[in-house]
Symmetry: C2
Subunit: 416 residues, 2 copies
């Protein structure tokens, strides 16, 4: 019997009527002949409320300073409630169901409370339940760490729970129900002609997600890729297929480009005349990493004179003042001549597995932007994407002209 995991986020279980609707949706798959395991988040707003409680009793109202084990125990209660209610709603319409907390399965995690990683899931109890026609409803986000302490996987962790459960019970597919109905070629708010993709590869999804097309938690996609779990992103409010995230072997013929991603919240820092010697990059980025500042693009040109080079990198805009502060302190020691920065930049990326085997994808991007007089400040490339930094004011224009240039509104042969 085919087996699926259905994961519902906080907005899908936000109140009792929505929970009942979730139960009906699950019942339909059950009656269609699937073995179904359900993963639920907390009711939307509840996790924030619980974090607020932790804030309220801890120093300076900062949950980050709390004992993360207690934080986890408090916050995990949100999923405990929805898992029980969803199991009851399923029973109410005549199905066999029970709730499962992380520790009951168990979902074993490491001890990094608050952002734990799953080490192992024992799928035996869930599989036994499924084979008896029962629908397990699993509290997402939760696991159990050392000394029987409850752990949580961090924000968005329920997606990761769902994928890990799907792997553990050898599910044929993991359906992630969200408030969007799939993955689009670009943001439909910017380009109304944006088209929902039927399929996308894990790699493309990773690039799209980490580049700002926030649909799935990046970790869950990485996990799905690692274990080849087929993931579908679909709407919890509409009844139609979503986007299937699969191995590229499952996609018959690759489109050159699958989508255009963008990220506005970027700031750019350029270090001018950096001594060209071993260890200088480590000297620059070490202090930033220690301050938990996430560096995104890094571009270093080869030195022309063999003595100095220039280095440019991007960071989250909110980290700019702190970053400049840190860099200024080490500037002299590093022998950096000058530091420039710009806060008003956007990153635009063209993503597609197909570009691996096709030249000319990057060139088309550069030409398209040049035709509209948009200056490219920085370029980086990976196997399946090309990213450029441009002035923020051109963001929407760039997205639209690139979407047009690669004809993303047209269905191509990538779709079976």
């Amino acid at each position: 019997m085919p087996r699926i995991v259905m994961k519902f986020g906080g907005t899908s279980v936000a109140d009792l009527n929505k929970i009942k609707a979730v139960a009906k949706r699950v019942a339909r798959e059950h009656h269609a002949g699937y073995e179904v395991a359900v993963v639920v988040s907390a009711m939307s707003g509840v996790t924030n409320q619980l974090v607020g409680y932790v804030d309220g009793v801890t120093q300076g109202g900062n949950a980050n300073l709390a004992d993360q084990r207690e934080y986890d125990s408090v916050v995990a209660s949100g999923e405990q409630v929805t898992s029980g209610l969803t199991a009851l709603a399923l029973q109410e319409i005549g199905l066999k169901s029970r709730s499962w907390q992380g520790w009951q399965i168990p979902i074993i995690t490491d001890n990094a409370h608050g952002r734990a990683r799953i080490l192992d899931i024992d799928g035996a109890r869930l599989i036994a339940a499924l084979e008896q026609g029962e629908i397990p409803v699993i509290a997402g986000f939760q696991g159990v760490a050392e000394a029987r302490r409850q752990s949580t996987l961090g924000r968005g962790g329920s997606d990761t729970s769902a994928v890990a459960i799907a792997h553990a019970i050898k599910a044929d597919r993991c359906d992630i129900f969200t408030d969007v109905d799939g993955v689009y070629t670009t943001d439909p708010r910017i380009e109304p002609k944006a088209r929902k993709l039927d399929r996308i590869t894990y790699e493309e999804m990773l690039e799209m997600a980490s580049l700002g097309a926030k649909v799935l938690q990046t970790r869950s996609v990485e996990l799905a890729m690692k274990h080849k779990v087929r993931v579908q992103v679909l709407s919890s409010f509409e009844d139609k297929p979503g986007t299937l995230i699969v191995n590229d072997e499952e996609i018959m013929e690759q489109a050159l480009v699958s989508g255009i991603a963008y990220s506005r919240n970027e700031a750019k820092i350029t270090l001018f005349a950096v001594p060209d010697r071993p260890g200088v990059a480590a000297g620059i980025f070490g202090p930033l990493a220690e301050a938990a500042i996430n560096v995104d693009m890094i571009v270093q040109n080869s030195s022309v004179d063999g003595k100095t080079t220039d280095m440019t990198f991007t960071i989250d805009r909110k980290d700019l003042p702190k970053s400049l502060d840190i860099l200024e302190k080490s500037r002299a020691a590093l022998g950096v001549k000058q530091i420039f920065h710009a806060a008003n930049v956007s990153k635009i990326s063209v993503v597609g597995v197909g570009m691996r085997s096709h030249a000319g994808v990057a060139q088309k991007m550069f030409q398209t932007l040049a035709d509209k007089g948009i200056n490219i400040q920085v370029i980086t490339t990976s196997e399946i994407k090309v990213s450029v930094l441009i002035a923020e004011e051109f963001t929407e224009l760039a997205v639209r002209i690139l979407h047009d240039a690669y004809e993303l509104d047209k269905v191509t042969s990538q779709l079976e």
Copy 2:
């Protein structure tokens, strides 16, 4: 090192400021040299909210019809939240603390979900924590049953949790913090001269509690009596000693009478001319028990003619229509001639361990009531109490004149 359990109910942990106040109170005992284990309820209102959720997803909005295992899992989350927050509040003021859920200890219960009974508590982990100077904060109300399912002990179950924990960790005392500051000789709202008792025996407390002086859950007192756990009832808002509930060996000299209890919500049913033959009582009370109607006093006079007798009993007033309905159906088969009933009766009880060894206690009660022209409808007695049924309108008057007659406003030699 002396060891105590401190239990805080829902009103004592109703918000973050109250939780912080609880932490300070616990800290004081800790610094005074006690090993302290804490038991907490859910924030007041939260359990009702969770039960409301269960109601909302189940048939006809009746949580009683729900799968009680899921009900338990949902409802137990309330204590999970407060236990974590209280542990954090203790850490915040520099103490070592961690939260414990029922399954982590574990507190093993039977499978009667929703009203589970504790079978066993493994105190080893808690004792180890205490001996390392840690303050365990235990989620009250919870346990774990078969198949790793969470169970709950029923309303007021946190008192029972606290007493059971106190027994398991061999605590010297179990302090129950409530919104009253102790056990009184009678209800101070009726008799302003009512006096707080320093000590009371388990038996007296059971009679007082089950007779309407609702301070502690009856089950918790039974459990304390069984295992000789010394329990103190005291105020969570005022800083003064409460009432200690102990074995009667701990009370040097017994007062004749410890208190006057009353219960207004009574209804009386009299069966007239019941055939005096074996099995007739079972025939009457069997159908009532099946309908979950709780029968309180039962009085049957010996038959004068050897053929028929009269039988009177009391029930909760709200059960009167249902009871009459049930009795009417079996009346002919039982050979009962007539059924009388009265809804407007009150039960007044005089309670005291000392009356075991003293005659005249009952007589003083009857005389006192007679002096004011209060008619006694029914009398029952046990070893340590005398109860009478009177017209409801005399409730307050009866309580006051009896309180006076036994001089309960005066401190007697029972107090060390």
